[in-house]
Symmetry: C2
Subunit: 227 residues, 2 copies
C-alpha cells in the first residue's frame, strides 16, 4: 500500500455487484442447446466469468466438438439475446450500492472490470446507479484478452492512476482471482456468484465474503480504515 | 456390506440424476420476488434440496420476514408453476440412464428418494426412462420429514428390503449427505448440482464424482465389482 494508505478497488460485475450469474448460466445453456450442444448446467457455471471466447472454446472442448469461429460468434449472440429477455429479474446484490457509495465518500478510488461487452454491461451498470461518465469501466471491448488474463484489471488500475500492487480485486469466480494473481493485485472472493469458499481460496483469494454487504462490513480487513 | 457383497443405491433426483437444479433455483427466485421477497440467487441455491417447508422457512428466516403458513404454501405452489413452465429444457444428467441400467442388469437394488412431491417428480422420472411400477420411488408425500432428516432414505431402503447400513446414498447437495449420515448410510456426492467438492466432503461424502457417468466409471470404489 502507498504512503497515504489508500487502497483502490477493482470490481468484477456479474456475481460480484449484480445478481446475474444464474441467469447468464441458463442463457448459455439455452443457446448451446439450440445449437444442438448438450452440456450439463453446472459445467457452464464453472466456466462463466472467463472471456466469452475462451469460455465457448472451453465448453466446446469439453463436448469434444470442433470449434468453428462462426459457431462461437453465433452462440455469443444468441446468449446475449436470451439473457436480455430474462434481465428484468436481475438486481444489484445486497450492499453493492452501499459499498460503492461508501468508497466514493471515503475517497477510495474504484473501477469496474468485466469480461462482458459494454453492450450487455450497460444496463447492469445503470441498475447499480453508477454513472459511466464518472467511474472507469473496463470491458471486453477495451482489452485484447479478458480473464483469466490480467489485462482487464491492469487497464482498470491504469485508468484510476494507481499501482496494480495497491489494488484489491473483488470477484466471485476463480477467473477473477487467477487474473488478480497474474496482475499482482490482492484478490478477494465473494460467494454471491454461487461458487464455494474453498474454490475461491484455492484460486488464492486473500479473504472470502458472502456478498458486497459482508465486504462493506469488513473493509478494515482488506486495507480500508472505516471512518 | 452383507455376505453376498451386494450394495444397494438410493438416489436423490434433482441435480443427481436430472439436470434441473438451476431451473428450480430460478423458479424459486421468481416465486419469492413475486411475493415481494428479495433474496440473492446463490442463497436459494445453497438451500435447495431441503424439504420444501424447511427450505421456505430457512429462506424467510434469512430475510427476517415473519413465516406465515399461507405464504409458504403460496410460494411452493408458485414455484411449481414457474418450474413447470421451464421444464422443457430439462434433461437427464450424462450417464444417468446408463448408470441405472447397469445397476439393474447387475442385480444391484436401487431406488429414488426425493424431497420433491410426486406431482413435480413424475415428469422427471419419465424423462429418465424409469418405470415407477418397477422401481421404488419415495417422495415428500410418503414421509413426515424430508431431507436433511433421514426418513426418505430409510423408507427407500425399507422398500428395497435392504439394511440402510448396506446402502449407498448418492446426492448432489449437503442435505442429501447429512440425511445419509443421520440414516447411517454411506454418502456419495456428485458435483452436478453445482456445489463445490469441499462442501460435499465437509458434509461427510465418502467420495465425490462429477456426475452419474463419472460414478458409473468408478463403481468399484463404492462397493460394486464391475463385471
Amino acid at each position: 500500500m502507498s504512503g497515504d494508505c489508500s487502497a483502490a478497488f477493482l470490481f468484477d460485475l456479474d456475481g460480484t455487484l449484480i445478481d446475474s450469474v444464474y441467469q447468464h448460466v441458463l442463457a448459455w445453456h439455452r443457446a448451446l442447446e439450440e445449437a444442438g450442444i448438450e452440456l450439463a448446467v453446472w459445467r457452464i457455471h464453472r466456466k462463466i466469468g472467463m472471456s466469452g471466447g475462451l469460455f465457448t472454446n472451453a465448453l466446446l472442448r469439453e463436448t469434444g466438438l470442433t470449434i468453428e469461429p462462426g459457431l462461437i460468434e453465433q452462440l455469443q449472440r444468441r446468449h446475449a439475446e436470451v439473457y436480455a429477455e430474462h434481465s428484468d429479474g436481475i438486481r444489484p446484490l445486497p450492499g453493492a450500492r452501499e459499498l460503492l457509495a461508501y468508497l466514493t465518500k471515503a475517497g477510495v478510488p474504484w473501477a469496474i472490470a468485466t469480461s462482458g461487452r459494454m453492450l450487455t454491461a450497460r444496463r447492469t451498470i445503470e441498475a447499480l446507479g453508477v454513472d459511466p461518465a464518472r467511474v472507469p469501466i473496463v470491458t471486453r471491448d477495451d482489452v485484447r484478452f479478458a480473464k483469466p488474463d490480467p489485462d482487464l484489471f491492469l487497464a482498470a488500475a491504469a485508468r484510476l492512476g494507481v499501482a496494480i500492487t495497491d489494488a484489491v480485486v473483488v470477484g466471485d469466480s476463480i477467473w477473477d482471482l487467477l487474473a488478480a494473481r497474474r496482475a499482482r493485485a490482492l484478490g478477494v472472493g465473494l460467494l454471491s456468484g454461487g461458487y464455494g469458499a474453498d474454490e475461491l481460496e484455492r484460486a488464492s483469494a486473500y479473504r472470502v465474503y458472502q456478498d458486497p454487504l459482508d465486504l462493506l462490513q469488513h473493509l478494515d480487513e482488506v486495507g480500508v480504515r472505516r471512518q
